[in-house]
Chain length 254, copies 2
């Protein structure tokens, strides 16, 4: 665990179903929002296919680069669930029976149903610590700074909630937004750049939106300095008003 | 352009707004589906923050690894729109006035509105070829095997549509699915692994779903061999029926 003000994080999605366009990922948005609230800074997301060498390489690159790595997907009982074995390979440790999980699954399912496929889910990298949730008897797990979670959103969410207490907290990363209908980015760009220069501790972003009710621009300030956030978003508001446009605090509604 | 049966592709999302959890990305699913239909194989997605060295590194890693790289985001007129300059840096070419775009924007906007911010959008890496769309006067562009598009979904989509004719086609990558309510993955895993072994030219995936109307498993086969797809999905159907469960062709509905 890092004692930096804002520990860094990456997400690795192990997911043929995302790369094929079959499935709309919603795990990144959930994790990104929750990590920000915990004060962890999400710095990278990768999606790779269910190919062992691709998974092992991505795990090793990302766990070396960031304080925490969260993976989603590939921990079920079928042939395409290879995440757990790949994590063992990435760490260079045996992939072996995890006795407490093995016993719990056998008890829960009954010996007659605890077949070879399900036994794979009780097989973990040596040193892995299960992430207990009420939602599934087969656990996610943490090993070092890598946290291995399910791909199904509601199971992933329950695993992340169980992880939160052990992740530790950084300075909460907050956002403020102000938007104006009819604002043109090209007309406020110079003013916005000047605000960014005055508040180098913040990330200032400009996001055009196109809605049924009209188009415009949302200006978003992000950072850990609450006073700076208040001051910067007030300046952004004045910038919009200076265009002769009504500025509205918050994000535009659909 | 590659003459492989299935050219490979990667997507790079340049997006603080995705990493902060502010925005739900929907560009990956659109691009993934359209690339599959064109016969291009999406092999990796990365999301990186609006930080020059991170963008340059990711562009150079991904363009070297895949036949085509598609980027989204960061080509507007504001200070946080740094993709175009980063692409020039990645290719080691000057970032300079693109005269035809410059002239078109000046004509369209009027000289009095063609300010420094908007002139940045007419500044492209040397050698870039604009991607013309009716939706915006400021273009995306291609340089080498890198295709630089907007982040706003409907603009990105119009740019991708304009790119399709020049991308070339591979063998179309098709999917077939069959699902069964109440199927348990652990009970069909061995049978499914055997089907995968009989059809090594296909990717067979198993995806649990949880819906208001009930839970179950969808089996998805993906590949370019239509006869193999038909045969494999028929075997998957029989596997579900063998569990005493009604098998339904296609994806489960919400």
């Amino acid at each position: 665990m890092s004692d930096k003000a804002n520990p860094t994080a990456a997400i690795l999605i192990i997911g043929n179903e995302i790369l094929s366009g079959r499935t709309q990922d919603i795990n990144v948005k959930f994790l990104a929002g929750h990590l920000a609230a915990l004060g962890h800074k999400l710095e990278e997301v990768r999606v790779v296919p269910d190919v062992p060498e691709r998974i092992v390489r991505a795990v090793n690159e990302l766990r070396a680069s960031y304080d925490n790595l969260f993976t989603t997907g590939g921990i079920g009982p079928t042939h395409d669930d290879i995440t757990s074995a790949c994590i063992a390979a990435a760490f260079g440790v045996p992939w072996e029976k995890h006795q407490p999980t093995w016993d719990a699954m056998e008890r829960h399912l009954g010996a007659e149903n605890f077949n070879a496929a399900r036994r794979r889910m009780a097989t973990l990298p040596r040193g892995a610590v299960p992430i207990p949730t009420s939602m599934t008897i087969a656990p996610g797990f943490s090993i070092g700074n890598v946290h291995v979670m399910a791909g199904v959103p509601r199971i992933m969410q329950s695993m992340f909630m169980a992880l939160e207490p052990v992740l530790g907290r950084g300075l909460p990363i907050s956002m403020r937004a102000v938007h104006g209908m009819g604002v043109k980015e090209g007309s406020i760009a110079a003013g916005l750049a000047a605000i960014q220069e005055r508040f180098p501790m913040l990330d200032l972003g400009s996001y055009p939106f196109y809605r049924e009710t009209g188009s415009g621009v949302a200006i978003v300030a992000k950072g850990t300095d609450e006073a700076a956030l208040d001051a910067a978003i007030a300046e952004a508001e004045a910038l919009i008003v200076g265009q002769g446009i009504v500025a509205v605090r918050g994000e535009p509604k659909a």
